[in-house]
């Protein structure tokens, strides 16, 4: 089964992160590197990406055939997608174990969602 581990960010978590001493920030990054390496070593990693800063987001809307582009995400959104791991694991439980290792999980900013499959058993 494929699962996506979604990692969000919010202003409070960013404050905490930026306030950390360099050594602790490096530790946080090392946790990510170790997680990525473990997923690769077990063959369960499909892809992982970090998204660029949300200020670089473009909103796209099509109205009457015209493509309108505006800067930035919705102003009212507090938690923004910051990155993801696409993994293939035997169970949701296993995907959750990996998700729990993401540092943002300490702020309650990590989600696991199953991916819809194109297959289907007969009934």
């Amino acid at each position: 089964m494929k699962y996506v581990i979604l990692i969000y960010n919010n202003p409070a978590a960013r404050e905490v992160w930026l306030g950390l001493p360099a050594a602790q920030r490096a530790e946080g990054l090392a946790v990510y590197a170790a997680l990525r390496e473990d997923l690769a070593a077990s063959g369960e990693l499909i892809v992982s990406e970090a998204l660029a800063d949300h200020s670089l987001t473009k909103r796209v809307a099509v109205r009457e055939g015209m493509t309108l582009v505006t800067d930035g995400p919705f102003a009212e959104v507090k938690e923004l997608l910051a990155g993801f791991f696409l993994v293939e694991c035997e169970s949701m439980q296993r995907a959750i174990e990996y998700a729990a290792r993401v540092p943002e999980a300490g702020f309650g900013l990590v989600e696991v969602r199953p991916i819809m499959d194109l297959s289907g058993f007969e009934m």
Binding site: G43, E90, I115, D117, L118, S119, G120, E122, M123
Partner: protein, 407 residues
């Protein structure tokens, strides 16, 4: 020989080439890379230049040379200061009387690997499929499969696995792991929706071919025979299980004239012979159930009491949430939908079934049989929301739609 025939021949020869190389040199990982390159060279040359008189010998020679080159590069990298790179052994002679296919299966399904890695490695090392073919079949990027295979081989090396028969005490569990991997490959192919099969290798065909190879190695093993029969009997229904648009057709509504009669005959004969001669096991029971379905000319002719008896046996031998659900469906067919619904409510206490979309789907089906379309519709809708399969979701939504009140 056509490109397709060459591909079939190469897949057949792959384990027979890899086996002697590993036996001679050791170093499963480097040998496997070398064989893969030899297969690629043959796939390019043979369709135009013709198949050599001794195709297996040709592949072994090319793979041995390539293996020596890879080995030299590696040793040169590892021990650049010393001059022992020249110590590469001579080319391997084909070992005629030893078939290492079973050892290869056991190596690829080693317990140190996750199941996704076991599947990829088995298809490449024993099945002779390329990384690109495996990636297309499983709808993942080629780089993912390449990484899975190379990291799996690193793990095998690190685990110190040896290329020989495991001791008697371990053997049954190791073979069980191989059967699980083969069944995973089969199901991946069987459940694939028809829309996306273009340019994909047929995983059901590959799984059946590999299980046949395993059976040649273990002709007296009842569970190997049972798995092969189960695959044949299930795959026989494939032409009837989807509509041209990819929509699923439930077993009861399939056009049974479309079933593959030859595969059914082989599967039924195989399971009949096996049940009388080997200790019973879960794959044999599942094959026996598939055989009972296959022998009913119409859905109404299905021998449900026999299916129920087989599911009861399976529940005691290898209990599991899906076995429970299938047993409850059989109960409903024998003792009526209300009895089935009653047992379903009790089964939901199992945490593996609580909130599972298949419970909702079965409940919907039983409510429909019991003449409660309104409740059935709500359960179909709930199941549709909870399923993880797009064709299943469409099917469940359509069932709910059929039960919508008309005015």
């Amino acid at each position: 020989m056509s490109t397709g025939q060459v591909e079939d021949l190469l897949r057949q020869l792959a384990p027979q080439v890899l086996g002697p190389l590993v036996r001679k040199y050791g170093g499963f990982d480097t040998c496997e890379d070398a064989v893969q390159e030899a297969l690629l060279a043959a796939a390019l040359q043979w369709p135009t230049e013709g198949v050599p008189a001794n195709p297996k010998g040709w592949l072994i020679t090319v793979a041995s040379r390539r293996r020596t080159e890879l080995w030299r590069n590696e040793s040169a990298r590892r021990r650049r200061e010393t001059a022992d790179a020249a110590l590469a052994p001579a080319e391997v002679e084909p070992t005629p009387d030893v078939d290492d296919t079973l050892n290869l299966f056991l190596m690829c399904c080693h317990a140190s690997l996750t199941s996704v890695s076991q599947v990829a490695l088995t298809l490449r090392a024993v099945g002779g499929l390329s990384t690109a073919e495996i990636a297309r079949a499983f709808l993942v990027p080629e780089a993912t499969v390449a990484q899975r295979i190379s990291r799996a081989k690193q793990r095998i090396r690190a685990s110190g696995a040896e290329f020989r028969m495991p001791p008697e005490a371990e053997r049954a569990a190791r073979i069980q792991a191989v059967l699980e991997v083969l069944y995973l490959i089969f199901n991946e192919g069987y459940t694939a929706s028809s829309g996306s099969t273009l340019h994909r290798v047929e995983l059901t065909t590959e799984a059946i071919r590999l299980t046949r190879q395993l059976r040649e190695q273990l002709p007296a093993d009842g569970e190997v025979a049972g798995l092969l029969a189960l695959m044949l009997l299930t795959d026989a229904r494939r032409p009837a299980r989807t509509r041209p648009d990819g929509a699923l057709v439930p077993l009861a509504e399939q056009d049974r004239r479309k079933w593959d009669a030859r595969a059914i005959a082989e599967g039924v004969s195989l399971i009949t012979d096996t049940l009388g001669s080997a200790p019973i096991g879960p794959y044999q029971l599942q094959a026996a159930i598939a055989a009972v379905h296959a022998e009913a000319a119409r859905a109404d002719d299905t021998d449900w009491p026999q299916i129920l008896a087989l599911y009861r046996l399976l529940s005691s031998l290898a209990p599991g949430p899906m076995v429970t659900l299938n047993r409850i469906v059989a109960v409903a067919m024998v003792d009526g939908p209300r009895t089935g619904l009653h047992q379903l409510a009790a089964a939901e206490a199992d945490p593996a079934l609580a909130g599972h979309h298949r419970v909702d789907a079965v409940r919907a089906h039983l409510l429909e049989l019991a003449g409660d379309p309104e409740a059935a519709r709500a359960c179909y809708q709930l199941a549709a929301r909870r399923t993880l399969n797009i064709p299943e979701q469409r099917y469940l939504e359509a069932r709910a739609e059929q039960l919508a009140p008309r005015d």
